[in-house]
Symmetry: C2
Amino acid sequence: VVELHPRLKEDTVEIGRFPLCRVLLMKDANYPWFILLPDRAGVSEIHQLTEADQMQLTRESACLARGLVQAFRPDKLNIAALGNVVPQLHIHHIARYRHDPAWPAPVWGKVPATEYPFDRLSAVAAKLRYALGTEGGFAPQD
Amino acid sequence: VVELHPRLKEDTVEIGRFPLCRVLLMKDANYPWFILLPDRAGVSEIHQLTEADQMQLTRESACLARGLVQAFRPDKLNIAALGNVVPQLHIHHIARYRHDPAWPAPVWGKVPATEYPFDRLSAVAAKLRYALGTEGGFAPQD
């Protein structure tokens, strides 16, 4: 298992794994904000993955997206591979609402991260785990 | 061929097509900024495409990404499906540089779009067309 970039280690908790990617939850109560992190070393762009891994990432991304829709009923999903600050390949999956603090702008650099109140973070994680079940080979993690 | 959302019609020019997606160039001289627009009506999220279309989108996205790297030698690619303002599914592919006006932030809402000087837009389009050739079934368009 590849080592997490220190920034991701600080900003997220791991809540489970797909066959290719770890599923991380951002510690930002402003949005249900998850990250897929392919377990491959030295890759910073999607097209640098093998074609088989790219297809698997696409399946896991769609599976996570469906889970987000089921768990959080968002108005829109935002999915993005940026990595200007953290070059280790990671793909944001964010449930967005018309009433969230950054809408309609993308979330980055809009409002500071807000800490989850006690036990809310694990409640959000549990909600997604419940929606995913074992879809797409998802294995929850506590 | 699906009708472009009015906002995309205003902000982009079409420079070619893959089997699934149109390739649009944003009229913003700040960054080499392209958009893949799957030719499917009524879809606003990637996971709403059929699985075959999702795989094709993944291939076309990787092909465009490699073309961007070859044509523009960026420091990083930013790839994103947002759609908070324009719900018609479209996927941004942006070549980013450490010296570009928004770095390291994402481009959205950072600096206003800058008009391309005379004939620079077609030069950028030509550069990408040259890099793509007929890779991935790309068909250039003038």
